[in-house]
């Protein structure tokens, strides 16, 4: 039930973001100064924004950018984090200390500030955003996987299996992995939400995808000066973000089987 609820909502968001720009007659990126801030109408369902772009189409296109980016970053961080966490949890010793060192370094450096500073060095763009968010994201997964691996390895049945001479690989595959996949996926699903929030926060602070691309945070940033005059401009991307975040949270809960 739960799984379907979150997943269905998420699927709906994805479909909205992918299909709207294809089906809409409007170009989400092309400004038209003759049509700025139009109220909702049959032609523009949500009206137009401050530069005369169709708000509905632009929200969907921004969602496409936001989601694609959040998923990409999460995929990278989950793979990196799981690998690092599993090695450290199993091998302990030096790899574990190395992970601890790297994790502390990554956590210690303030992520958003680093990202803001990085844009000064690398210029705004997807590469910069990736470079800024991956170091921020892999740690939580690595730590969760390491803890899970350790706890699993310490569990009685694993000790028992080890005592009857099972190999490390066998242990990993049969006894430990099932205990670890849950936490890893949980963290990954949560991370998708976190990365969505982090990336759009950067856009909100003015460091987003290169134009003409825009994400939801960038749309909110553009709309904030018009908050009183045209609240729908901020409302549309904010609502889209909320629904997406909720869908991701529900899916995360479902994955854990809570």
């Amino acid at each position: 039930m739960t799984r379907r609820g979150g997943a269905a909502l998420f699927a709906a968001v994805v479909l909205f973001c992918l299909l709207t720009p294809l089906l809409s007659p409007h170009d989400p990126y092309r400004p038209d100064l003759a049509r700025v801030l139009l109220p909702p109408s049959a032609e523009h369902w949500l009206g137009t924004d401050q530069a005369g772009r169709d708000l509905l189409t632009r929200t969907a296109a921004a969602g496409r950018a936001s989601l694609l980016f959040a998923l990409t970053v999460t995929a990278v961080t989950t793979v990196l984090g799981s690998a690092a966490g599993a090695v450290a949890g199993l091998a302990r010793g030096r790899p574990d200390r190395l992970l601890g060192f790297a994790a502390m370094g990554a956590l210690a450096v303030p992520g958003l500030t680093l990202a803001l500073a990085l844009t000064g060095v690398m210029g705004a763009g997807y590469g910069t955003l990736l470079a800024a968010l991956v170091p921020l994201g892999w740690v939580s997964c690595a730590l969760a996987v390491r803890t899970a691996v350790r706890q699993a390895a310490a569990a009685d049945y694993v000790q028992a299996t080890r005592s009857i001479g099972a190999s490390g690989f066998y242990l990993l595959r049969r006894a430990i992995a099932p205990q670890v996949i849950g936490p890893a996926l949980t963290v990954a699903s949560g991370d998708t939400g976190r990365m969505l929030a982090a990336a759009t926060s950067l856009s909100f602070l003015g460091v987003g995808p290169p134009p003409p691309d825009v994400d939801w945070g960038g749309m909110v940033n553009e709309a904030v000066p018009l908050l009183v005059a045209a609240p729908q401009l901020a409302l549309a991307p904010a609502l889209a973000l909320t629904v997406t975040g909720l869908a991701i949270a529900l899916m995360a809960d479902a994955l854990r089987g809570v």
Partner: protein, 324 residues
């Protein structure tokens, strides 16, 4: 409960790891310092020219050259790094490029604001998370718990910058009950702390709930229940304690995120803390301030993480190592 002898023993055996952890923390800081220095130094653009261009005016090349020399920007990189590190170790974080005021003094004057904000936000986050988690795990079908859960999860799905903008519009401007920002009145901290705390609460709550549920399935909890310990006590004491290590690890991550989130929230609410200082410094390319901020935040977080490590080891006998 034969608690005391074990604790003394583990305190002694924990001393060596504690030293090792301190050494590791220092090593991390050294790496971070090099990294921070390079990051700000390799940033393109000439700080001297940018300083002189404030107010939108265009400086002469002669002025730029003289200021470069005055700021020591002409020296080779390793020399500049060592100079900077030496000053930092003596407690001198340099002077701001923007107003030539000592950075250390400014940071010292801003630390209390950020700590106060973060502390209040943590209290809000932890209270909400623990109360709702225990309540919903204890009584999964109680209406109040489910409503609270729904609200927190929903609110947690909205990034802090949106929550903040909405709170300013509704609570501060609309209802006029709380200040829109700044630190002029004692209640001004409420909205930013709530914004920050809400984001942390959702993350904490979700993880705590998951851990609590899985903990209630652990054999020793089942055993405790079989021994006749009440459900409430099982969840509140045994399961919570079993769930604690992961939660503490999470809490340290959440705390680090709180610091990052504070950057956005402080900017949004004009809260005179470190985050706001850092953001405006980055925008003005005030390199000494950026360097000091990153380094100090790193030091603070490293300390926090080390403490979390120690706490986690204490809370879970299985990780404590001396055997159960």
């Amino acid at each position: 409960m034969p608690a005391r002898p074990r604790r003394v023993a583990s305190a002694v055996s924990a001393l060596t790891p504690a030293l090792a952890r301190t050494a590791r923390g220092l090593a991390v800081l050294l790496v971070v310092s090099v990294f921070t220095f390079l990051l700000t130094v390799l940033a393109p653009g000439d700080p001297a020219e940018e300083i002189l261009r404030r107010g939108g005016t265009q400086p002469t090349p002669g002025s730029v050259a003289r200021l470069r020399a005055e700021l020591g920007l002409d020296a080779p990189l390793p020399v500049r790094y060592l100079r900077w590190l030496g000053d930092v170790l003596r407690g001198d974080l340099g002077d701001s490029y923007a107003d030539r005021a000592p950075v250390a003094a400014e940071i010292v004057s801003r630390v209390p604001a950020t700590l106060w904000l973060a502390a209040l936000a943590s209290v809000i986050a932890v209270t909400l998370a623990v109360v709702v988690a225990v309540r919903t795990v204890l009584r999964p079908h109680a209406l109040d718990g489910r409503i609270a859960l729904t609200l927190i999860v929903a609110a947690g799905a909205v990034p802090p910058y949106i929550v903040g903008v909405l709170l300013i519009s509704v609570v501060a401007v609309g209802l006029g009950t709380l200040p829109t920002g700044g630190a002029g009145s004692p209640v001004a901290v409420v909205l930013p702390a709530f914004t920050l705390g809400l984001a942390g609460a959702a993350t904490l709550l979700r993880l705590l709930r998951a851990d609590l549920v899985s903990a209630t399935r652990q054999p020793f909890v089942v055993l405790a229940r079989a021994k006749g310990v009440s459900t409430a006590r099982v969840v509140a004491v045994h399961a919570l304690r079993a769930a604690a290590p992961a939660a503490i690890a999470t809490a340290s991550v959440v705390a680090a995120e709180l610091l990052a989130g504070a950057v956005v929230v402080e900017t949004l609410f004009s809260w005179p803390g470190l985050g706001q200082y850092a953001v405006s410094a980055i925008r003005q390319r005030d390199l000494p301030v950026v360097q000091a901020y990153v380094l100090l935040t790193a030091a603070g977080t490293a300390l926090l993480l080390t403490l979390a490590d120690v706490c986690a080891a204490w809370a879970d006998p299985r990780i404590r190592g001396s055997g159960t």
